[in-house]
């Protein structure tokens, strides 16, 4: 992991990655300050995505997290301020700074070809 990447950025990158994969969007089209609903993520999807983060952080989060903090900027800030998010920060996809800077192509298209990549990885 690149230590210069702050926790908030790591989470923001991870969220961008999630949205691009699960809404079939180009990452460059996702802005951290726009409401998530703008990208077609409806209110129930947003609740479901909380479950994905809980999986990685192994912590229970408010299910309305993305309702209360409806942009990537706000939600990543909230998570970084209130939780130990090192698990996301260590997540290889999320922590790759290039993801935000978009200098390299999407690292692994695991979601497209091999299911959800590592779904059963955690024991």
């Amino acid at each position: 992991m690149n230590s210069s990447v702050s926790n908030q950025t790591a989470i923001a990158n991870w969220l961008i990655q999630q949205l691009s994969e699960k809404l079939s969007l180009d990452k460059s089209s996702i802005s951290v300050s726009e409401p998530l609903t703008r990208y077609g993520l409806d209110s129930i999807d947003a609740v479901t995505m909380v479950g994905d983060i809980e999986d990685i952080l192994d912590v229970e989060l408010p299910s309305t997290l993305f309702w209360d903090y409806p942009t990537i900027e706000k939600s990543s800030q909230f998570l970084a301020d209130n939780y130990d998010v090192s698990a996301i920060a260590f997540d290889s996809d999320a922590a790759t700074p290039e993801v935000v800077e978009e200098k390299v192509p999407e690292p692994v298209a695991a979601g497209k070809s091999k299911g959800w990549g590592g779904l059963f990885g955690r024991s």
Partner: protein, 599 residues
């Protein structure tokens, strides 16, 4: 079989309402058919129910009512709906009160309790809109904050009991369009509004439940005080979705009532009608159709009664369980009604023949149940979004998790055990992948293995049951594998194949619920239940919808189940895993007397 306390009120109500096939009874088929023909609201019937104080069972005991558990509630609504779904639904709009029991202040609860119990008040729920349907967050009815309250503008449509209710739960937009936190829920007491600021929309003519007050309500610069806001501004969607978990589950009771009447009236015909020198019942094909219909009812009982009790034990799992019940039970019983009408022949279509033409009314009335309060597609979609979590959670189970599931399953499914009080604040928007029924399937399999050699259990039946249960497990494992390998996307453009996968999941869920129900109540619910032949046939029936299976698993079992169906019918017992005593049929009593005279 001993009397279960939680079914006593339903049985009392049944006796007081009387035999619906007798024209003089309250809510008799004759009366409800006449009302339906006139498209008339069942005013007198509802008044009778209020005078009986049925409304008390919709108000929790700690709010001044008599509601203690949903198992009792389910049985009550079933008894109502087997007579008339129009009345059953019109009265049961009171179950929206759970929004207030869940989120109201003490003052709001007190007011609502008094309104329902003492003032015989009625409720409606204003969520949907003509232009937005189930797209709630884009609703056009707005609430603008002003000093001391809000100004409402806009319309809700189509709303059951919109006109004939004193109190409306209204979902209004207090924020931006599309914002999940942009909605707020108001408990609007119409008696306190300036009547020039709200209006009702005309009655909508419908295919079924024709006497219903299906209409709408509109607000025009209508001031409502802060005291009518439920919970906090912006919490409307969360509350609304949690409320749906309750009401979607209990829509099943309307279907159960319809299924009962459809099967009873068809049996009335099949047992008497002579064709080719035999009764219709004596012909193998119609007998099989009616026996399968009975199995459908038993399967749906296991799923629904399990869920009703589960509300007290695992309320946090109902983002899954409510969707399964609302999809599976209402659709299975809708299909069941469609399956049996061929036995009744062309009479199924007649409005004034055979039992006052009740069948065609049931057929029309019942077809709305799988649609309202979240359609088939809405519920399957809700499941699809949770599949990844469900699969992950199942994969990660550890011995400690399994023992916790085992303990919860026992409380949930053992009808003799008191279920804890329902705590609506424990409902969750999503269940974090937990689903005890299916995630405890291996527990059930172990319990079945342990029954080997038990003299109470027929070894051949048990062998079949274990073999079928292993197939259920195999299918569940295949489901998880398919989910793990599939690509997940958010949104409303899910692949049609996923909806089929979700239907299979529901069938597996029902199979698991049947197993748990049998395991924990084998010694409680009578000989027929204990013998388990119905269970073998039920699991077989469910599996046949999702994989190639032999047509029949045991002719003998089918015959035994058919005989039980007739026994229940002739003794006026409910077609159910808990066959409560129904009001005695006067016609059947006359038949018996005539039979005795002949002897």
């Amino acid at each position: 079989m001993e009397q279960l306390e939680q079914y006593r009120i339903a049985e009392n109500l049944e006796q007081d309402l009387g035999d619906p096939s007798h024209p003089e009874s309250v809510m008799s088929f004759k009366t409800v058919m006449e009302l339906d023909e006139q498209e008339a609201f069942p005013e007198q019937e509802l008044t009778w129910l209020y005078n009986w104080h049925l409304q008390d069972y919709y108000v929790p005991a700690n709010c001044g009512g008599k509601f203690t558990n949903f198992e009792e509630f389910l049985a009550i609504v079933r008894v109502l709906s087997r007579r008339d779904q129009t009345t059953g639904i019109a009265f049961t709009t009171l179950f929206w009160s759970f929004l207030c029991w869940m989120a109201g202040t003490d003052a709001q609860k007190q007011k609502l309790s008094k309104f329902i119990i003492e003032e015989q008040g009625a409720l409606c729920l204003g969520y949907s809109e003509r232009e937005h349907g189930s797209d709630l967050v884009n609703g056009g009815l707005t609430a603008t904050k002003v000093s001391g309250g809000y100004i409402l503008n806009g319309e809700k449509w189509p709303i059951n009991r919109a006109t004939r209710s004193g109190l409306s739960f209204v979902l209004a937009r207090t924020g931006e369009e599309g914002e999940a936190k942009g909605l707020s829920l108001f408990m609007v007491d119409k008696r306190e509004l300036d009547s020039s600021n709200y209006y009702n929309l005309p009655k909508i003519l419908t295919h079924g439940i024709r006497g219903s007050d299906m209409s709408g309500i509109g607000f025009s610069d209508c001031f409502v005080p802060d005291s009518m806001l439920l919970w906090k501004e912006g919490d409307g969607l969360e509350l609304g979705l949690k409320g749906f978990q309750i009401t979607r589950t209990f829509c099943a009771a309307f279907s159960q009532g319809a299924a009962d009447t459809a099967l009873k009236t068809t049996l009335n015909f099949a047992l008497k009608r002579i064709v080719y020198n035999k009764t219709v019942w004596e012909l193998p094909q119609p007998r099989k159709v009616l026996t399968d219909a009975f199995l459908d009812i038993l399967i749906c009982d296991c799923e629904t009664i399990g869920a009703a009790r589960g509300f007290s034990v695992v309320p946090e799992q109902f983002s899954v369980w409510a969707a399964v019940v609302k999809y599976f039970v209402t659709r299975q019983l809708e299909q069941m009604v469609n399956d049996v009408y061929v036995v009744l022949g062309s009479r199924f279509y007649m409005r004034d023949e055979h039992d006052y033409g009740i069948f065609q009314k049931v057929l029309r009335d019942n077809s709305i149940i799988s649609m309202f309060d979240g359609s088939t597609v809405v519920n399957l979609h809700a499941l699809i979004l949770q599949f990844r979590q469900l699969t992950k959670t199942r994969q990660r189970r550890k011995p400690k998790t399994m023992s916790a599931i085992a303990s919860r399953l026992e409380t949930t499914f053992s009808l003799q055990k008191p279920a804890p009080n329902f705590e609506p604040t424990k409902l969750e928007l999503f269940g974090r992948g937990a689903d005890d029924s299916l995630q405890g399937l291996e527990i059930a399999l172990t319990q079945l293995e342990e029954l080997k050699g038990n003299p109470e259990v027929d070894s051949e039946m048990l062998e079949k049951l274990i073999a079928l249960s292993n197939l259920v497990l195999e299918e569940l494992n295949a489901h998880d594998e398919a989910i793990a390998q599939s690509k997940f996307e958010f949104g409303h453009e899910q692949s049609p194949e996923l909806f089929e996968i979700a239907k299979k999941y529901c069938a597996l869920h029902a199979a698991a619920s049947c197993l748990h129900m049998w395991i924990y109540n084998r010694q409680l619910l009578g000989d027929f239940f204990a013998q388990g032949e119905w269970l073998v046939l039920s699991i077989h029936r469910l599996l046949r919808t999702i994989r190639p299976m032999p047509y029949s698993i045991s002719e003998t079992y089918s015959e035994n189940v058919a005989n039980e169906l007739v026994r229940l019918h002739k003794s006026d017992k409910l077609f159910s895993i808990v066959p409560i005593q129904l009001a005695q049929s006067i016609i059947k009593q006359e038949d018996k007397i005539n039979e005795l005279i002949r002897i």
